[in-house]
C-alpha cells in the first residue's frame, strides 16, 4: 500500500465504509426484504437477516477493491439509499 498521509486517510475511509457503511446497507437490504417478500412477517424478517450477511461481506470486499475512496463510498451508499427508499415506499404504500 502507498505510504503517506493521504494513503492512510484513504485506508481509514475504506475501513469506515466497510464497517459502518456495510452494516447500513446490510440492514437496509434486510428491511427492504422483510417488507417486500411475500411471506409471513416473521419469515420475511428471518430471510432478510440471513441475506444481510452476504450483503455485508460483499460491501466489505467492495470497500477495499474499489478504485478509489469515492468509488468505495458510492458503491455502498447508492445501494443503501435505493434499498432504504424501496423499504420506505413499500411501508408507505402498505399503510395506505
Amino acid at each position: 500500500m502507498a505510504q503517506g498521509r493521504s494513503a492512510k486517510q484513504g485506508l481509514l475511509v475504506r475501513i469506515v465504509a466497510a464497517a459502518v457503511g456495510g452494516y447500513v446497507v446490510a440492514m437496509a437490504t434486510a428491511i427492504c426484504l422483510s417488507y417486500g417478500l411475500p411471506m409471513r412477517r416473521a419469515d420475511a424478517v428471518l430471510t432478510g437477516v440471513l441475506a444481510s450477511f452476504v450483503v455485508y461481506i460483499a460491501a466489505v470486499l467492495w470497500a477495499f477493491a474499489a478504485r478509489n475512496t469515492a468509488h468505495a463510498w458510492l458503491g455502498i451508499a447508492v445501494p443503501a439509499v435505493v434499498a432504504g427508499g424501496m423499504a420506505w415506499a413499500i411501508g408507505w404504500f402498505g399503510a395506505l
Binding site: 434486510a30 417488507y35 416473521a42 419469515d43 420475511a44 428471518l46 440471513l50 466489505v60 470486499l61
Partner: protein, 527 residues
C-alpha cells in the same frame, strides 16, 4: 484491473487474518473439542459408571417422578429431560414451585439412573466448558464476548471469501502439496487445509454469524415490530408459531394418566425418542403436558406434542416449519452437529482440526514470507511469539485443563473454576516462554512440552483413577478409551514433529560451526 482486484483482496485477506488469527485459533480449537463435549464430560468425571444404562422412557419418567415428589410435590411446573441419547449424560429435573416461601421456588437436579438420586460426581466444567469457551470466551461478561466473537466471525467470513478469490489455481492445485520447500510448502499447506474442508469452513462461519444474529438484527426487528420492549419476543413467538399457554384456572382437577401420551408420542416418532416431558399447571384444570422429541436431525430437533393434562386429548401436534425457518434451523443444526453418529462426529472433529491448522498455517506463512525483510522488527517478533505461544501453547493449555482435572483434589471448593484457571495460567506461561526464547528453540521446546502434556495423560489417568485404558478397553467403554487413545495420538504426533524439527535445527547449527571460524569472519568483513 484483475491484478489490482486480486492484490487488494490479498491485502484484505492478510489483514483480517492477522488481526484475529490468534483468537480465531482459540475459537476453532475449543469449538472442535466441543464436538466431543459429552465424551470429555465423561472422562472428566471418572466417578461415572463405565456404561450408561438405557431404559424405556416410561421407566425413566417413573424414577424422575419419584424424586420430584420427594423434593417438589406441590410444584406447578415439572420438567424432565431423559438421557437415552449420546448428547445427554444425566437425567435432569427442573421444577418451579411458587408456593414456597424460602426463596427456593426454582430447583434443578441431575439424577443418576441407578439410584434415582442426585448425581455426586466431581465438580468440573467438563467438555461443556471447553465448548462454551468458543463463543463465551472467559473472564469477560457474556455481552462483550458475543460481540468480540461475532466480529471475529465476520472477519473469518471475509477471510474465506477473499481466500477463495485470491487462490488462483484452486482446481489445478487441489491435490498439490510440496513439502520441505519453505514458504512454498506453508502456502500449499494453508491452501490444502482450506480447500479440502471448504464446505465445512463456509458452513461453520456462516452459521456462526446466524447464531449471533439476535443483537445484530435489531434495526430489522424495530422496523417490523416497533421500538417497544418485547418486540424481539413478539418476533420469535411469531416465528416459532408459539401460542400463549393458559395460566392456572384456579381449581383442582385430577391429572390424566401419562402413559397413553407417551405411547402416542412414541407411535409417531419411534421408541425411546422422547427427549423432554413438561408438566404445566400441575393438578389444575388447565394442566398441560408437552412432549418433545429428543431426536436430532440436521434441522435440529423437531416434534412436539401438546396434550390436555386433564382429558389427555392431543391439543397440538408439530406444525410444519416454513422454508426460511427450516433453512435457519438447518444452518444452526449443521453447526452444532448434534445429529451426528460416531463416524460423522469424527469427520466433524477432523474438519475442525483442519480449520484450526489452516489458521495456524496462515499465521506461520505470514512469518516465513517476511522473515528476510523484516525479521528483526517489533511487529514480526510479536507475531512470531504469538504464533508459537498460540499454535502450540493453546493445545498445551487444554492438556493442562485435563491434568488439572485429575490433580486438583475432589471436594475442594471451586475446583471447576480452578481447572479453567489452570488452563489460562499455562497458556500465559507458554506465551511468556515464546517471547523469551529464540524462535527456533521456542518451537521445539514447546512441541516437546505438548508431546509430554498429551502423551502422558493416559498414564496420569491410570495413576489417579480406575477408568484407564487397562479397564476401558477390555470393557468396551469406547468413549473413555477413545479419549485416552486420542490424546496419546496427539502426544505422539507432537513428539514426531518436535524430533524432526530439533534434528534439522541441530544439523543447521553444525553447519554454522563448521563454516563460521574467526578467519572466515575476517575475510567476510574485509570484503
Amino acid at each position: 484491473m484483475k491484478g489490482a482486484f486480486r492484490q487488494s483482496m490479498s491485502w484484505l485477506h492478510t489483514w483480517v487474518g492477522l488481526l484475529t488469527g490468534w483468537l480465531l485459533f482459540f475459537i476453532f480449537l475449543t469449538g472442535t473439542a466441543g464436538y466431543f463435549d459429552t465424551e470429555i464430560d465423561r472422562w472428566m468425571q471418572p466417578e461415572r459408571p463405565l456404561h450408561t444404562a438405557e431404559l424405556p422412557v416410561a421407566e425413566m419418567f417413573a424414577i424422575a417422578r419419584k424424586r420430584l415428589q420427594d423434593v417438589a410435590p406441590h410444584a406447578e411446573y415439572w420438567f424432565v429431560l431423559t438421557s437415552n441419547r449420546r448428547n445427554v449424560l444425566d437425567m435432569r429435573i427442573i421444577w418451579t414451585d411458587s408456593t414456597r416461601t424460602d426463596g427456593k421456588q426454582n430447583g434443578r437436579e441431575y439424577l443418576e439412573i441407578s439410584s434415582g438420586r442426585p448425581a455426586e460426581y466431581r465438580q468440573t466444567g467438563g467438555g461443556q466448558l471447553l465448548y462454551k469457551l468458543h463463543y463465551q470466551l472467559h473472564y469477560l461478561p457474556d455481552a462483550a464476548s458475543y460481540w468480540i466473537v461475532f466480529l471475529c466471525t465476520m472477519f473469518m467470513a471475509v477471510a474465506i471469501v477473499t481466500g477463495v478469490i485470491v487462490h488462483k489455481r484452486i482446481f489445478r492445485d487441489f491435490f498439490v502439496f510440496r513439502p520441505r520447500k519453505g514458504q512454498r510448502s506453508w502456502l500449499d499447506a494453508h491452501n490444502l487445509l482450506s480447500v479440502l474442508a471448504l464446505p465445512f469452513h463456509v458452513m461453520i462461519t456462516y452459521s456462526g454469524l446466524v447464531f449471533f444474529a439476535y443483537a445484530y438484527m435489531m434495526p430489522v426487528v424495530i422496523a417490523n415490530y416497533g421500538f417497544g420492549p418485547g418486540n424481539h419476543d413478539r418476533y420469535t413467538n411469531e416465528l416459532h408459531l408459539r401460542a400463549e399457554q393458559p395460566g392456572p384456572a384456579g381449581f383442582a382437577a385430577t391429572a390424566a394418566p401419562l402413559r397413553p401420551m407417551l405411547d402416542e408420542a412414541e407411535r409417531r416418532w419411534g421408541k425411546g425418542t422422547i427427549g423432554q416431558i413438561r408438566l404445566y399447571n400441575r393438578g389444575d384444570a388447565n394442566a398441560r403436558v408437552l412432549l418433545k422429541s429428543g431426536q436430532q436431525t440436521p434441522a435440529r430437533d423437531h416434534g412436539a406434542l401438546l396434550f390436555d393434562g386433564v382429558t389427555g386429548a392431543l391439543l397440538k401436534a408439530d406444525v410444519a416449519r416454513t422454508a426460511p425457518r427450516l433453512i435457519g434451523d438447518v444452518l444452526l443444526g449443521l453447526h452444532e452437529g448434534l445429529f451426528a453418529g460416531p463416524a460423522l462426529r469424527w469427520i466433524y472433529f477432523v474438519s475442525g482440526l483442519l480449520g484450526t491448522a489452516m489458521i495456524g498455517a496462515g499465521l506461520v506463512l505470514w512469518t516465513t514470507k517476511r522473515r528476510a525483510k523484516s525479521g528483526d522488527t517489533f511487529g514480526f517478533r510479536l507475531v512470531e511469539g504469538l504464533n508459537i505461544g498460540t499454535i502450540v501453547g493453546q493445545p498445551v493449555a487444554i492438556a493442562a485443563y485435563f491434568w488439572a482435572n485429575r490433580l486438583i483434589p475432589v471436594g475442594i471448593e471451586g475446583r471447576a473454576a480452578w481447572e479453567a484457571h489452570a488452563m489460562f495460567i499455562v497458556w500465559a506461561v507458554m506465551l511468556l516462554h515464546a517471547f523469551i526464547r529464540p524462535a527456533s528453540r521456542g518451537w521445539t521446546e514447546q512441541l516437546w512440552v505438548a508431546a509430554g502434556a498429551f502423551g502422558l495423560l493416559p498414564l496420569l489417568n491410570a495413576l489417579t483413577t480406575d477408568k484407564h485404558l487397562g479397564v476401558t478397553l477390555p470393557a468396551g467403554a469406547w468413549e473413555l478409551a477413545g479419549f485416552d487413545l486420542t490424546v496419546l495420538a496427539f502426544g505422539i504426533a507432537f513428539a514426531v514433529v518436535a524430533w524432526r524439527l530439533g534434528r534439522r535445527h541441530r544439523s543447521d547449527r553444525e553447519h554454522d560451526q563448521r563454516f563460521w571460524t574467526p578467519a572466515y569472519q575476517e575475510t567476510e568483513a574485509a570484503e
